[in-house]
Structures are given as C-alpha cells and as structure tokens.
C-alpha cells in the first residue's frame, strides 16, 4: 500500500498530486498490478483533504486505464504505465546515482546539481518538441 504526501507549496492541484504519485509509484515498482490503493477514507484520514478530491484522482487513473474500482472491494492497479520496463528503470537509476555521486565528489552542491539537471532536462525535451 502506498502513502500519499501533499506538497502545498507546489501549486499543483491536489488531485493531480495524487495521480502523479500513483504514476511514480508504478514506475518505481512500488505499486504493481493487483495492488490495492488506499480507500478514500484512509487518504482523507491521513491528509485531511476533501474525499471528492480522492475520488477525482482515482477516476482520472481509471480513465487512464491504470486502475479499476471494484465496488465494495476497493480500487486496484490493473497495469503499469506503458514503456516502463523495470530493468531499464533500474539501469538508469543506477547511472543517475553514479553521476550524482561523482558530481558531489567534484564539489558541486545540491543547488548546482539541480540547476545542471534542469538545464539539461529543458534542452533535451525542447529539442524533442521542435
């Protein structure tokens, strides 16, 4: 079972934060097909948010075909987002970790590293669009 967190400073709508956290948990293998998502009641009890927000997030995930609500039983993961082969994920995670370690030992701080990452990310995906 996953636990949702809220980042109030992010400016991202609450329901979207829940959707994104499920996406991420699926990508990282923390959620797998057959797993049950927390009930609206459980999420509400943890985060003190409106239950309709949880329903909205789950509806969105259902529309994306990632989960299915089974009345009386809960909401279950049906499949992972496409293109997320766990072995590939793990390979890139390991590569990224190595890169971060070498950046740190070269004397770069978290802010430097983040700035580099963002710049690289932007130029890479801007190329992809153009």
């Amino acid at each position: 079972m996953i636990e949702f967190q809220l980042d109030e400073a992010s400016g991202v709508a609450t329901y979207l934060q829940l959707v994104q956290q499920v996406h991420q948990a699926l990508r990282m293998g923390m959620l797998e097909p057959g797993d049950r998502l927390p009930t609206a009641q459980q999420v509400v009890a943890r985060l003190a948010i409106n239950p309709n927000t949880v329903h909205k997030a789950y509806r969105e995930l259902e529309r994306e075909g990632l989960v299915r609500a089974r009345p009386g039983l809960g909401t279950f993961v049906t499949r992972s987002p496409s293109g997320t082969d766990p072995a590939t994920q793990a390979r890139f995670l390991a590569g990224m970790t190595d890169w971060l370690r070498s950046a740190r030992s070269a004397g770069l701080g978290p802010d430097d590293i983040e700035a580099i990452y963002r710049t690289a990310f932007r130029s890479c995906f801007a190329e992809g669009v153009a």
Binding site: A13, V44, A48, I49, N50, P51
Partner: protein, 295 residues
C-alpha cells in the same frame, strides 16, 4: 436541484445597522463549501440565519429546501458549530453527550462515543478545562452525532494551533467521506480551505463576488504578466478581476472560458489564495471608487 443554502435578497438589521443586506446566493448539495470574505462581510450573520438562530429582516433564505426555523424536524437536519466552538464550561464531556442524546431525536450515540475515544477526550473532564483543540473536537462531535444532512461551521479553526486545526479538519473530512454530509464553513485560512473545499463563495459587503466549484474556478482564472498595456484592449470574454501596473509591466488576474493565446502575455495558473485576494481587493476598489463619486 435544491441547494443546501439558498438566499434571495436576504437582509438582517440590528437597530440601525445592516449586518447583511440584499444577499443572494445558492450553495449546491453534496459539497464542502468554503465561505470567505473580510471581517464584517456578513458571513456569521448569514450562517446564523441559515441555522435558524436569527430571523431575517427582509428577503428569504431556505436550507435544504425548507425555512431554517420551520420546526424541530428541520433543526435536526442541520448541525451548527458556532464561532469559537462554545461548550458548557462546568459540564463534563459525558454530560455534553447525554444532553446531545436527550435533545436530538436522531442522536447517534455510537458515533459520539467512537469519536470521543478517537480524539482522546476523557469523558469525566469538564469542558471548561479542555484545550482549544479538544473543545473544538467536542463541539464537532456533538454536531456530527446529530447525523445532520448539512453541517454549518463558523470559523471553527480560527483560534487553533496548526496541529489541532489539521486534526479538526481531518475529523470533518472523515465525516464527509463516511456520511456524505454537506458542509458550509467560513474561514480566513485559505490554505485550509484549499485542502478541504470543493466549492468556494467569496462574500464582500453582503454580496457574492464569485462562487463556484473550486476546480472550475481555478481552471478559468489566470495570472497574466507582460509589457504594460491597457486592459481594455483584451479580447471579448476576458474579464479583468484585478490589475496592477508599473511603468513597464502589467499584471492581471483574469477570468476567461478560453485559453489565452496572445504570446506577449506570460500566463500562469492561480491558487485559491490569489483568487480570493483578487476578488476581495476588487470589491474594496469598487467601494473606494463609489465613495469618490459620492464625495
């Protein structure tokens, strides 16, 4: 569809002062509606009228389709938690529960006991010696154990510390999830409202400045910034809520059903706080302008 609270031309006068005047609004069912506005906007008066605690001087108000003070059956359908969550100071917690059971035909004693245990209240303790957070939880428990269809809360968390506030809202949201009760609550704490509300009403000087489903409101409002220009030159259908200008730059809060395509504007989404502040300051500016015209 019947709204949980519907008011038309509603007014309440105390001697020579109008606490609420010509208020028209409709809050739909099944929502957690946040009522925000500056002090003196008439929020408390509106909520007390809806709870049947006050009689209107003029206009009409209906709650769940009925006159709020229609009789005991109507009062049983509505739970009301007043400002500062009042309790009987000398009476122990258990006494409050007995009183609740005795006064309310639909009293859910099981729910009351479960909630009291859940929030860790000692039933023998006198209510006067409870902390602010505990007192608020007691008041919420009493209101919920009535099993109302509508729960009205007037600034329930204003005086609570952040943790007690979170605990209170958590209890409230659990009740919404479990019983599907509609909620109308007033608060100045927009960050809290952002978490719990799916409907928003901004009330300034008795008038509804904006009302609607939160997601729709956030989707239709944008913050535009760009080189200085006349907001009158914006395309039709774009309503300027708030504007500020420097000699080089203009920043606008706008409401529009259409996406803004003009590339010279930088378009950013707005938060609930931006929206509330935008409408509140517009109302203040309107008022200042009217006073200028008069003087």
């Amino acid at each position: 569809m019947t709204g949980v609270i519907e008011a038309s031309g509603l007014g309440k006068r105390y001697r020579r002062t109008w606490a609420l005047r010509d208020c028209t609004l409709a809050i739909p069912e099944g929502r957690v509606a946040g009522l925000v506005g500056p002090n003196g906007a008439g929020k408390t008066t509106l909520l007390r009228l809806a709870a049947g605690l006050l009689a209107p001087t003029c206009g009409t108000v209906s709650v769940l389709g009925e006159d709020p003070a229609a009789g005991p059956a109507q009062l049983a359908r509505v739970g009301f938690v007043a400002q500062d969550t009042p309790v009987y100071a000398r009476m122990p917690v258990a006494g409050h529960l007995r009183l609740g059971a005795w006064l309310n035909p639909g009293w859910d004693g099981e729910l009351a006991r479960r909630r009291i245990a859940q929030v860790g209240l000692d039933v023998r303790q006198r209510a006067g010696s409870l902390s602010g957070g505990q007192r608020a939880q007691l008041a919420l428990t009493l209101a919920l154990a009535k099993r109302p269809e509508l729960l009205i809360l007037d600034e329930p968390v204003a005086s609570l510390d952040p943790l007690a506030r979170r605990e209170f809202l958590r209890g409230l949201m659990e009740a919404v999830a479990e019983h599907g009760v509609s909620v109308v609550l007033s608060s100045h704490l927009v960050a809290d409202l952002e978490r719990v509300c799916d409907y928003l009403v901004v009330l300034v000087a008795s008038r509804v400045r904006v009302a609607g489903q939160v997601s729709a409101l956030l989707a239709s409002h944008h913050r535009l910034s760009g080189p200085r220009r006349d907001p009158g030159a914006l395309p039709a259908g774009v309503e300027v809520v708030e504007e500020s200008h420097t000699d080089k730059q203009s920043t606008l809060l706008v409401r529009t059903g259409e996406p803004v395509h003009d590339p010279s504007w930088t378009v950013k989404p707005v938060s609930m706080e931006d929206l509330v502040l935008g409408y509140m300051s517009r109302a203040r500016d309107d008022r200042a302008r009217r006073l200028e015209v008069v003087s």
